[in-house]
């Protein structure tokens, strides 16, 4: 187990560099947009990864509310943090792409707005964790996570009737895509997933360690004689 982590880390690094090479060199250049389009290989996998992490966060929160297992809380905290990071990547790469392609940084359409709302919800989730002064922070956070998850479909509905400028989903949607692009996209996604998994893993270990240290310190505090105040 101890050795698994560095091995996984090296594999991820290799995968990421290969994916980068694939995205920048191997992938065919898009006809209308040109090289700018290559940001696509970062934009889309980040979005998918973020969604996946938020999904895990929701499941872990529900598990925590039912079982009160501290590990579920750690998983929820970690996935929210990393998910926010990936979501931020989407929100940064999107406008970077939009500027040359659409001529504007931002517009209020379905995909953009919903991503922004999602980001806002999970940032507020992290804020709550940071600012809570209660010893029951996990409960509060889990409740908020459930609210956030309930909100997401409603956000989609509510912005449904906006006009959209953003491309339709590649998979399942009507859009068609060069199979080579699709392969490289999936490769990048795999690399991103590994990367996200890696960060989550180390964050998870760190968080568990932190809590263990806290517990030992608390135990020590129990044992050492208390200063009389």
């Amino acid at each position: 187990m101890k050795r698994a982590f560095p091995i996984f880390a090296i594999l991820t690094a290799l995968l990421l560099s290969y994916a980068l090479y694939a995205a920048l060199v191997m992938a065919p250049t898009e006809k209308t947009m040109g090289d700018v389009q290559r940001i696509f290989y970062y934009h889309v996998p980040s979005a998918w990864t973020a969604f996946l992490l938020f999904l895990i966060n929701f499941v872990a929160s529900v598990v925590y509310l039912i079982r009160r297992h501290p590990l579920a809380d750690i998983v929820a905290a970690v996935t929210a943090e990393v998910g926010v990071v990936f979501c931020t990547v989407v929100l940064v790469t999107g406008p970077l792409w939009a500027r040359p392609v659409w001529g504007i940084w931002w517009t209020w359409d379905v995909r953009l707005t919903s991503t922004l709302v999602l980001w806002l919800i999970y940032v507020s989730y992290l804020m709550l964790r940071r600012f809570s002064s209660s010893s029951q922070t996990p409960v509060l956070a889990a409740a908020l996570a459930v609210f956030g998850a309930l909100d997401v479909p409603l956000v989609y509905f509510s912005i449904w009737i906006f006009r959209t400028q953003h491309p339709q989903p590649v998979i399942g949607g009507g859009g068609s895509i060069d199979p080579r692009m699709l392969h490289i996209l999936l490769l990048n996604w795999l690399a991103f997933l590994c990367f996200a998994g890696l960060i989550c893993w180390s964050r998870y270990r760190l968080e568990r360690l932190r809590r263990e240290v806290e517990e030992t310190q608390a135990l020590e505090a129990l044992l050492e004689p208390r200063r009389v105040l």
Partner: protein
């Protein structure tokens, strides 16, 4: 029965406290009045333009005003730690939640009833769509604001700097509701589009979140 009884008692207590101190309604009223004035100075509305933006205006004013009111009503429970007296009693947590929600609904409702005529006069509003639909929109929209507001206010009293925490938690979750109420109002005022979709969305939002709040409130109340 017990739930209704205790909700009633708590609501009556809240209304009496507010009647005696008038903190919440005072703060709300002051703020909302200023908002009307700010906007009426910031542009010279002709009927067409104001119809376009009045929906947003009204609801932003009410949203901010309810944040102020919500903070006040919970601050009252924290003074002398009166909330602890509720927590040690066998009264169901949801009774407190419902009472607070209904109480704030009444406060914000009173504010709306007072402010709407002002808005109409200042902005020369006349609905081109079916004006009666504004009533369900107002009721559903206000409920959406206060139901989540009450829940998150209860959550934010367990945090440091709780006054600023309430908007931080409330706004992201409320975005679909805000969109729905603003768009519904604009649709009715301009009469160009149907407000059906938005009203249904708002109703769904209300139902979903009222249920979620009722299910989770007990946990939040007793999380210390």
């Amino acid at each position: 029965m017990s739930l209704a009884g205790i909700t009633g008692a708590t609501l009556a207590k809240d209304l009496r406290l507010e009647w005696r101190s008038k903190d919440a309604i005072n703060a709300m009223l002051f703020f909302a009045l200023l908002v009307v004035v700010v906007f009426s100075f910031s542009f010279d509305p002709n009927a067409e333009e104001s119809r376009q933006i009045a929906g947003g205006l009204i609801w932003v004013a009410f949203l901010f005003a309810s944040v102020v009111a919500l903070n006040q009503t919970w601050a009252r429970e924290l003074r002398n730690q009166a909330l602890d007296a509720y927590r040690v009693s066998p009264a169901p947590a949801n009774a407190l939640f419902l009472a607070k929600t209904v109480g704030n609904f009444i406060f914000v409702g009173v504010l709306e009833v007072l402010m709407t005529p002002l808005f109409i006069v200042f902005y020369k509003l006349r609905a081109l769509g079916p004006a009666w639909q504004l009533i369900p929109v107002a009721i559903l929209g206000t409920w959406a604001l206060v139901v989540n507001g009450t829940f998150f206010a209860a959550m934010s009293i367990r945090t440091r700097s709780r006054e600023i925490m309430l908007p931080l938690l409330l706004f992201p979750i409320s975005i679909p509701a805000i969109l729905a109420m603003v768009n519904a109002t604009t649709a009715i005022l301009t009469g160009e589009l149907s407000s059906r979709f938005w009203i249904v969305l708002l109703a769904t939002y209300d139902v979903v979140f009222t249920i979620a709040c009722l299910l989770l409130f007990e946990m939040v109340l007793h999380a210390e």
